[in-house]
Each structure stands twice: as C-alpha cells, then as structure tokens.
C-alpha cells in the first residue's frame, strides 16, 4: 500500500502498480472493496446499498462479492442505521454507514451528536467510534428538495468528528480508505455533482492520504482561493480563466478535510499572496468560509492586503432545481468575486 505523501500535487503517481481511469463513483467503490477485502471487521450498511447497489451505484458488486453479512440492506430509518453502527463499533466491527442523501442525515443527527462524537471521550477511551458515515451532498444534479444541501459546517462544529470532503476520484479513494482505517469517526461528504463528471487515474493498489491535510490544487501568487468538495472544479476553472483574461495568478487551496482544517497550508498561501477569497455552496452564516477567515485573521492578519470575500453560500434554502443553475457558484461568478478582491486597494 502506498500513501499520497505529498498532497500538494494531486496527480502524483503511485510508486507501485497500475493506474486505471475512473470516475469518483468507481473510486469510492474501489476504496470500499479494498477495505472489505483486507479487513473482515468492515461492514457496510444503509438503505438500498446491497441488491440495488446504492442509488448512485457506489456499492456496485459489493453484495455479490462479500455477501449479505458484510453489505447490509437496512430498513428506512437513519437513526437506527447510525445508532446501530454505534453498537457495531462498540462490538468491534468497523461500520461504514451510508445515508442515502446528506439531507436525510438529520434523522440521525441526535445519534451523531450524542454518541458518535462522544463515546470515546465519555468512556475515557474504552469505546472508540471507528466508523465512517458516507453521504452524497450538494447541488447540481437536478434533484428534488433535500437532495442538494451542503451542511458540512454542522459536523465541523461538532467536536469529536472528522469532516472529510474529497474533490476528485483519486483523493476520494485515498481519503475513504484512510477514513475507514481511521480509529476515529469520520463524516465523509461525497460531492455528488462530481460522481460521474470526470475521470482520473487511480492506482489499483490501495492508496491512502492523511486526513486534515489540504492540497495546493493550483499554484499562484496573486490571490488565494480556498475551496473544497464540488467547488474545487469551478474554482480551478475560474483560476484558469483569470490567468488568461486578467493575467492574475490564483492559488487554489483544496481543503479536502474541513475538520480538522489545515490552517498552516491556508495561512502559508495567504502569506504569499496577500489576498484571499473563499467559495462555498453551503450557507454563509457560521459556515466553513467563516472559519477559514477567522483562522487567517488569527494567524496571518498582517499579510492581508484586502478583505477576504465569501463567494456564494447564501443564507437561504437551496432552491428547487429549476433555479439551481443560477444559484450555484459558477466559474464566472468565482472569477468575478476574485476580481473584486484583486481590485481592492
């Protein structure tokens, strides 16, 4: 097994083995296959993940390969899926629970806040909550209400959890595998807009990368743009556009994990560029963007030459899909936001 040690280059070659082009769905499937194959305490549970292979087919073939005691279809009750996973973890299994959509995870929020995040602390280390709660999040797939939210901040605000948000097939695979191996609980937010939107080379050999490390998705010198999850793609596009149109060099920081947050990489980038913006899908109030800004202020205020702008992330409900394309931050909107920060004197 290899580890993506230098997370600053996303496309880094795995030292060993063959690469396969795959989308994020395939990459996540691969990570679960890795985990099921190598650790027999791993069990997957969730609604329609077995026979149906998940509503997005993320668990394709896994029931056939590992059987119904490892890949478990459950009744329709998120609270019992997570509460049951707590019991499974206490009994020494490694549950990987799927919430069909992040918008329905609130049915289990009490179990997450009261138990997943606390059991290890409560029992002074006796019962670690080694589990992963996977869920697709975010807009862009023309789905009905509750299928488009981004509420990573709820989990980032909850002590005792890791909140991981991959942005590409390769880091999704490496982070999911790492999350399953992690002895602490991980909320794993999968950007469903990215699920099938592009492919990337992913090593066949199991590969992991550390939780809590951001990556420089693109180097730049004039302004730092902090993004995560599905927003990384339009962020990169905006950076490219600004380079071409305005000769502005944008450094894009892909957080990958919003809690813990890689303050050092963020502040290091801002120290270099002097300016920053954040782009987010989720609500602005007390969102990840606010936290990014607070950390820059705490650790790098003296570097700041302009106010930090929060692009996107309005404090309204994510609209039904007829209005979503206008609502979601596009590359163009991001570029316009960056221009504003650059223009500040």
């Amino acid at each position: 097994m290899t580890t993506i040690e230098d997370t600053n280059t996303s496309q880094q070659r795995s030292k060993a083995g063959n690469m396969t082009m795959m989308n994020m769905v395939g990459a996540l499937n691969l990570a679960m296959d890795d985990a099921l194959r190598t650790d027999d305490s791993v069990v997957l549970l969730g609604q329609d993940i077995g026979q149906d292979e998940g509503v997005f087919r993320v668990t394709a073939d896994l029931l056939a390969r590992y059987g119904k005691d490892r890949v478990i279809d459950t009744p329709l009750a998120e609270g019992a899926i997570i509460g049951g996973a707590v019991g499974l973890a206490i009994y020494g299994m490694k549950p990987v629970a799927e919430m069909q959509f992040s918008g329905f995870a609130y049915q289990a929020f009490h179990q997450v806040e009261q138990h997943v995040s606390r059991f290890h602390n409560r029992t002074r280390g006796r019962y670690p909550m080694s589990m992963v709660i996977r869920m697709p999040y975010g807009g862009g797939i023309r789905a009905v209400e509750h299928h488009s939210e981004s509420r990573e901040a709820y989990y980032a605000h909850t002590p005792g959890l890791h909140m991981v948000m991959p942005s590409s097939p390769r880091n999704a695979r490496a982070l999911l595998l790492e999350s399953i191996r992690c002895p602490d609980p991980v909320i794993f937010y999968e950007p469903k807009a990215v699920y099938r939107s592009f492919k990337e080379e992913v090593p066949e050999e199991p590969e992991t990368m550390p939780i809590g490390k951001a990556r420089i998705a693109r180097e730049g010198s004039d302004i730092s743009l902090i993004a995560w999850g599905a927003m990384v793609r339009p962020a990169l596009e905006a950076a490219e556009d600004l380079q071409n149109s305005d000769r502005v060099s944008v450094e894009v920081v892909d957080l990958l994990s919003v809690s813990p947050m890689d303050t050092q990489t963020i502040v290091h980038s801002v120290a270099k560029t002097g300016r920053a913006a954040v782009v987010q899908e989720g609500p602005r109030n007390c969102g990840i963007g606010a936290e990014v800004i607070a950390r820059i202020v705490e650790h790098g205020l003296m570097h700041l030459e302009a106010p930090i702008k929060r692009i996107g992330g309005y404090d309204v409900q994510f609209p039904y899909f007829a209005r979503e394309r206008a609502f979601l931050p596009s590359a163009e909107r991001i570029a316009n936001g960056l221009r504003e920060v650059i223009a500040f004197e």
């Binding site: 329609d48 019992a80 789905a143 009905v144």
Partner: protein, 365 residues
Amino acid sequence: MPRKPIKTRDKLEYLSILDGKGKVDAALDPNLDAETAIYLYRLMLTARRLDERCINMQRQGRIGTYGPCRGQEAAHCAATICMDPEDWVVHAFREPSSFYHRGWPLETVLKFWGGYEEGCQPPEGVNDLPIAVPIASQLPHAMGIAWGMKLRGDKRAVLCYCGDGGTSEGDFHEAMNFAGVYQLPVIFLIQNNQWAISIPREAQTASETIAQKATAYGFDGLQLDGNDPLAVYVGTREAVDKAKAGGGPTLIEAVTYRLGVHTTADDPTKYRSNEEVKKWEKLDPIPRFLNYLLKKKILNEKSAAKVEEDVLAEVAGAVERFEESRDVDPLDSFDYLFVNTPEEVKQQRDEFAECLKQEGIGAGH
C-alpha cells in the same frame, strides 16, 4: 392468574369488497351513486395518464426525476374523496390525483417534479400540505393539524399518506403515539406497495401486517385491499366518521403494489422478478374498477371512452399550462424565506442580483 395471555382492546380487521377476480361482496358494497363512482374512476385514470405523460417528459428532459404511482391509484383516489373541503390532506409523494381532487391544478404535480417550488404552493382555500420528500416526516404535521382541530373544537379530520418504508422511521412512531394519547382526528393511510425502493416489505419490518402496528398506540388498525377502490372508500369513510365523532385516530394499511419504477432513476429489475410484477398486474385497480362500473351499468363502452378522452385532454392542458409557467426568477429564492426578511438576507439578495446581472442571467433561467 399468574401467567396469562394479554388481550388487546382495539379493533384489528381486514377488509376487501371488490376482489381481484371482480367478485363483489354485495353486503359491503357502498353502492356509490353514479356521479361519485364515475368521478372516482376518472380520478384514478387521471393519475394513470398523468403518470405516463410524466415518464415521457422525464425522458425528454422536460422535468426531472419522477416518482410514478401506477398500480396505486385506488389507494390514494378512493381515500382522498372521503375528505370534505374543510378537512386536511397531508401528502407523501405518490398521490397526484389527491392534489387534483383537492383543488390543486393538475400542473402542480408537473411543477414539483419539474423543479419549481411553485409545485408546493397550495392554492388559496385549499387545506393541504404539499409533497413531503423526507419520508414519514409529514406524519407529525398531520398529527399537529389534527391536534389544532381538537384544541379548537373543529369537527374536522386529517388524512395522511405514507409508504410501507415510512413506517420504519421514528417520525411514524412519535406521530402515531401522540395521535393516540390525544385521541386526534387523523387517519394514517399507509400505502403498502410492497417496496421501499429495493427493500421488500418483509425486510422492512417483521410484523405480519402494518395495520397491527396500531396496537402499539391504542387505536384501531385496518388492513384492506388497496387495489379495491370500494374497500379503500369504505374503510376511509368509516375512519373519517369515527374521527369526526371523537373516536380518535385509525391506521389503515392499504395493500397495493408499485407496478412501475420507484422513480425514473430506478431500475427495478435489479431487485425484483418480472413474475412478481406480472402477478400484481392482474390485480390492477383500474380495469378492476372499470369492469365493476360496466357490470353495474354505471358506465358503458361509450361513456367510458368519453372519460378517457376527457382525462387525456385535461392532462394535455396541464402539460401546456406547465410549459407556459416555466419563466421564474432565480432571485426570488430570497423572498419567501421569511415573512419579515432580515436586512442581511436582503443584502445577500442584492449581492446575488449583482452576480446575475454580471453573468447575464435573468428570469426564466
């Protein structure tokens, strides 16, 4: 007696009137007047034709994912017609003709699945809740509305739809329990269509029936043939009358079958056999009810064809009106969040308006 069986108090029954073979239990036949009977048939047919149209529209990309109700028309249509206008209906998401009957324009259904909040806006004067996406989360609302009726002394009732899968959620339990404790005028109608996406009824719960879950809450449970519009009508009507007379809630399990896909994003061949579907197709409520009406001479070939024609025209009209109403303003996402919009939301609205201007995005986008 130190060891004895416990007998429970509440009624737990099974009801069927017009069976799958077309046989009618004459003693139980409600003998609907011709107008009502034809109206009910028409409602069922409207759901069927709208369904077909929606599936096509989804394929053409004119609406998004759609969740059809094929096979379940009797269950939702025969129930909703038992409710008076001042009663309330709380929907799940597979009851298009209930909306229609209650006074929502038929295009409402298209608006919802087409991605418009407008599909969730009840017309003035209509006492209903729109489609509820989070499964079973609407049951506490139905209970709360019924609670309001009881507190205000209004002689009304609430009909609330839910699926078999929904009975596994905590919300189901909590709403049922409150309804029992306060003896609220609410009818929980579970459309047991045998599947919750890919999870079969037997894997959803170990109880033999869903109706018997009422035992846990101290009120009556009724299992009925949900593909038999007469049974659904009689069972619901009794429950409504009981509710309005202060007799408290009823749990009705309508045994039916989802003949189609879960939604247009679903592939049922992954999890169920063709034979099973075939078996249930023979129990289809629409031909069953049509035959009953023909036998009873409430309809004849000609008048039945006329109903079909009217329904198709109504569906076509709804599609047209839907297409004409697409022109919405993305900015208004900021306008309905609050009755009194706070300053900071207004500022974000201005910011968003500026973005749209810069990007050249106007209404209708």
